[in-house]
Symmetry: C2
Subunit: 342 residues, 2 copies
């Protein structure tokens, strides 16, 4: 029998979190004091990242369950640490939710978050809670470490290969499905589940990020949160270079293409501008790509696809196989278009 | 001439933050990559704390200017680090505000926050921004360090003196003034400013916390965010002890008493239950108090007032000078009473 929804109090919330918080190495003081006290690895540098998820901006409660919100709010931060080549270790969670939220929903939120944390050995060490006059607001801060040099956005050089892990556009296909009042007809359930899960419960490339962080030859790295067009532009700007991507080479899953056909959507637009895939984009010297790609797949199972080249200049161009310019879907500009960003 | 309010975009927000971020020691990568890369002090332990401030829960825009919100959102976290005896070093800021917010308001928010950060050598190293469908939501994470043993809530022992820095109830008096449509008649402007400033721009006890963190004889420490009754109960529960506070000994500023007289308020209720004073409460052996008190005042200028004793048992009692029980104002329970908490 499920417990009945209890009236939320801050004390009960903190107790619920404290009960569920998993232990972990390097924690001298966890939840329940004024601050967490953590023991960094000697000689390691610290990586710190924070991400905000806001109801009706980043997700809608109509399709995102509390457990999904918890999962994703941690996932987007793990992805940032991975993009720096770091090992995520500790998380702090701030949650504001409406006073009508039940304890079951709050427990489900932490359940989703802690399930992903447990997969990656990330412990919940602190947080804050508040009621919210509007919807859910979640802020997660993750602290990680690296003993090597962190991977920056700024190291790409003309001639470098641009490559991505996994496939692109799946999360955008998922959002296109979730945004509709009902599922599109004629698409198999497992295809729909593949894309909606990619949107609701992204799998950050934690192992891949650490592997690529330690590998020789990677010149720049970033995670794909805002979409390929925007995130590659970040790399180009920070590195002072341009880039050219051949859209026909973009890895797009068959599930994404099937959903695009069913909805009359544009799979390539999702792949270039959709965002929230939480894959890694990296650049490396042309001579290093084959070795990196083979070794990464052997070590982690992840596929690396070369999608373009870094060029001199400042332009970031998307072209088809014949070299004709293809306008990329615009990058995610948060306050202008106002729906989500991870 | 002031710049005209610009339409907010996430890129312009990030640029604004990046321009204003102050440099600092131990920052290998600051704002502008997937995560900040920080260099911890060798041998130090890390202190991490996070606090959420929500419009219409923790503050109202009617009286809290963006610069106040920025200041306070950092102050409450610095106070937590101070309560652990740590030195605050780095801050990450997540800000969600309505799409109608102007760039001037956002700049003012960061201005207030960075002004306090500069006072304490705390650098802004990362963050996230979002539009908000409701009001302002601010989450700040502060990372600090200590080379000694962190101060816990759990070390109080029967016989210990309970003492607080500064005065109590001033922030609650300030809120009582700010919550009224107009200022009470007959109270001098500097008295009003004293209490409203205490509420809007609390001064965390950063130097005092570090001094007390390194001093011998302090057995437990906490900052007074939720109010004396609640925060002392936290110490008692974590330490497995009881406590007795003599309310006549509580340090209450003359400004607080004057505002209480003018508004028909209860200065002692503000001092015990009001919260948000961000003073430090500590316990120490009875033989250590005089030395600690004199040395702290010499080192930092802060006054330490003994207000009660730690006792065996579990009860936290508030009594008057004759030993009669005086019910303390109830502690701040966030989801039940629903207005603010720092």
């Amino acid at each position: 029998m499920k417990p009945r929804a209890a009236r939320l109090t801050e004390t009960s919330l903190i107790e619920a979190v404290r009960r569920r918080a998993i232990g972990g190495e390097g924690i001298r003081v966890g939840i329940g004091d004024d601050g967490a006290v953590l023991e960094p690895t000697a000689g390691a540098t610290l990586i710190a990242t924070t991400d905000l998820l806001v109801e009706d901006i980043h997700f809608r409660r109509r399709y995102a369950e509390p457990a999904d919100i918890g999962w994703k709010s941690l996932a987007v931060n793990l992805s940032d640490v991975a993009a720096m080549g770091g090992r995520p270790r500790w998380a702090l969670i701030a949650l504001a939710c409406p006073a009508a939220t039940t304890m079951e929903e709050v427990e489900a939120f932490y359940g989703g978050l802690l399930a992903l944390g447990a997969e990656h050995g990330v412990a919940l060490v602190g947080g804050d809670t508040s009621s919210s006059p509007a919807g859910w607001f979640v802020n997660v801060t993750v602290l990680g470490e690296t003993t090597g040099a962190p991977r920056r956005r700024s190291g790409a050089r003309p001639g470098d290969v641009v490559a991505v892990t996994g496939t692109l556009g799946r999360a955008a296909a998922g959002l296109a499905v979730l945004d509709r009042p009902k599922a599109p007809a004629g698409v198999p359930a497992d295809t729909l589940a593949d894309v909606t899960t990619a949107h609701l419960r992204p799998r950050p490339r934690v192992a891949e990020g650490q592997w690529l962080g330690a590998a020789e030859g990677v010149t720049a790295m970033i995670d794909l949160s805002d979409g390929l067009a925007t995130d590659l532009t970040h790399v180009a700007q920070e590195s002072g270079v341009g880039a050219r991507v051949t859209v026909d080479r973009l890895p797009v899953a068959e599930s994404t293409r099937a959903v695009a056909r069913a909805l009359g959507g544009d799979a390539l637009a999702w792949a270039t501008g959709g965002g929230e895939d939480y894959e890694l984009l990296l650049t490396c010297g042309p001579g290093a790509f084959a070795r990196l790609s083979e070794s990464l797949e052997r070590a982690t199972g992840a596929r690396l696809t070369p999608i373009g080249e870094i060029e001199a200049g400042r332009a970031v161009a998307f072209v088809d196989a014949r070299g004709r310019a293809r306008p990329a879907a615009p990058g995610w500009e948060h306050f202008v278009t106002g729906r989500r960003r991870g």
